[in-house]
Symmetry: C2
Subunit: 327 residues, 2 copies
């Protein structure tokens, strides 16, 4: 009997993994069935979230991290002759929605070339047109696929610093915020709301002028909080991703945080589950409303009436909710 | 009789505007009532969206734009002695969620000092903890308040380049994407998914090395599209916001786009109405589910079961939906 897609994912087949993530990205109905099938086999991978403003060198940094994780994983995997081609490290690069094409603008074509020939590394860009947390849901499901496939470490990289991206990264097991000196405007980088999600700060391009000033600025910001005894104070790691300098220290910091947070990790994973469940319920309800409650084109008519100020959006929303719940 | 908050907003009272936006930001139930009361008086303001990566100098640029709009508006307003203190220009600066404090990290304290004493300019930072488009909803409602108060031009500035921020900006009447040379990594800026939402590109800090290279890169990207005759091709405006150079050209470009898009604007406003309606319906449904359908703590229990892999999120979401619709 031909194995199902879920079975092939569980066996670690890279082509099945790629196919599964495409179904998720396309919001194909089969993707829900797939997640159902694999879900019981997930929860073992460690999720590393990396975010920061564009131009911070995140891609190169992630590249270095992957190499480091890969070196660690390879030592283990050589003793497992049964699954030589199962990827050990996964990368999900989240690109903000491209509203017109719906696709990653440059995607993985320009990046991660160093690992292109390594079957132990699985790399994927994600983008989606969906509303209501579609990107977060797709990212979460893609991580589940890699997790079920036996990937040990999954790096999730977001290029944005928006609310969705912050939500994605803060639900990872460890959240790394990458900053860069010399944009002449450290305050801008710091105000982006990403300070408070960091478990680890990276000051990349640390050979640039202003690196120490940026480290001091971040440190001063951290000093505003009072950390309780035993509470994790995010370390600030200086790296030069292009040369690899500082990357071993970053890997150590990730390891230290992982050790420190063995208990905390459970609450982080609960937060992740809650976030995904909420997004999913809301999305399902909207599908139900459009497909089962409203006639074709009816929502567009209501939107027209809101746009022309005949009805306010709160009244319209309440009417729609009442209709959906009455059936 | 004491005038209601809505009446005071309609009269252009800056303190009422500030109070109304605070209600919206706090997701106070009274805010829905307020939007209902003022909604019929909205739809006249022109919404200018400004986005771009951190460090692009957006705040300074917006500052300059406000001064230019203010100068234009003042000429009109001096003849209207009846409402001398009604703001003519509004600024809503959207900060990504700060998950722990829920507040704008630096907010408007550090910015817009030039207009602090000008009653004709109303400036407000927005941040929210809410899920499911809470930030977009709050921003949209705050714009409605300013619109109802008679504000002619509303600038919405987002610091992020994430999905929510893209959604906010693309529903403005004109979307301005600000880029900056010399981050050494133009590709990163371009891949951020913000290329395709731009009606106008700004290359700010255009006195920096690499400005012309960035202009060429954007232009080359635009050349990949084939623009039909009469179709708007986004112009690329070079500015130095700190000195004001290029700002008159940017104001002209906004005027030209506004003229060009008189018909298109309707569909843009429909898109904005649809986006807000969808967010609102989804949010209302989730509130209904938690308050009317589930017992206190029940959602947390379901989340626990998902987190521990007893049930997959799709099955859990379907169960919740079925229960909500059965009543």
């Amino acid at each position: 009997m031909t194995p199902t897609l879920g079975e092939r994912v569980l066996a670690g087949d890279p082509r099945a993994i790629a196919r599964a993530i495409s179904l998720i990205e396309d919001e194909d109905p089969a993707s829900a069935e797939l997640v159902r099938a694999i879900f019981g086999h997930t929860g073992r991978a460690y999720l590393v979230g990396v975010t920061g403003p564009p131009g911070a060198g995140k891609s190169t940094l992630v590249d270095r991290l992957v190499a480091a994780f890969r070196a660690g994983a390879r030592a283990v995997q050589t003793s497992d002759a049964a699954a030589p081609s199962r990827p050990a490290v996964g990368v999900i690069a989240v690109d903000p929605t491209s509203p017109f094409s719906g696709g990653a603008v440059l995607g993985d074509r320009l990046r991660m070339q160093a690992h292109a020939q390594d079957p132990g590394v699985f790399i994927r860009s994600m983008a989606t047109r969906g509303h209501l947390g579609g990107l977060a849901r797709a990212t979460g499901d893609a991580a589940l696929v890699l997790d079920a496939a036996g990937v040990e470490t999954i790096v999730i990289e977001t290029v944005g610093v928006g609310q969705d991206e912050v939500d994605i990264i803060r639900t990872a097991d460890v959240a790394i915020v990458t900053l860069v000196p010399g944009t002449g405007d450290e305050v801008q980088a710091l105000k982006a709301g990403i300070m408070e999600i960091a478990d680890i700060f990276v000051v990349n391009k640390a050979d640039r002028e202003g690196a120490d000033r940026l480290v001091s600025a971040v440190d001063a910001n951290l000093a505003l909080h009072s950390y309780a005894s035993g509470e994790w104070r995010p370390p600030i790691v200086k790296t030069v991703a292009t040369s690899g300098a500082g990357v071993p220290e970053l890997v150590s910091a990730i390891g230290a945080f992982r050790e420190h947070s063995r208990g905390v990790q459970t609450s982080r994973r609960k937060a992740r589950s809650e976030y995904r469940l909420r997004e999913l319920v809301a999305q399902r309800f909207m599908s139900h409303l459009e497909r089962e409650v409203l006639a074709t084109g009816e929502l567009a008519g209501i939107v027209d009436r809101v746009a022309s100020r005949e009805v306010d959006p709160y009244t319209a929303a309440n009417d729609l909710l009442t209709r959906a719940l009455r059936r």
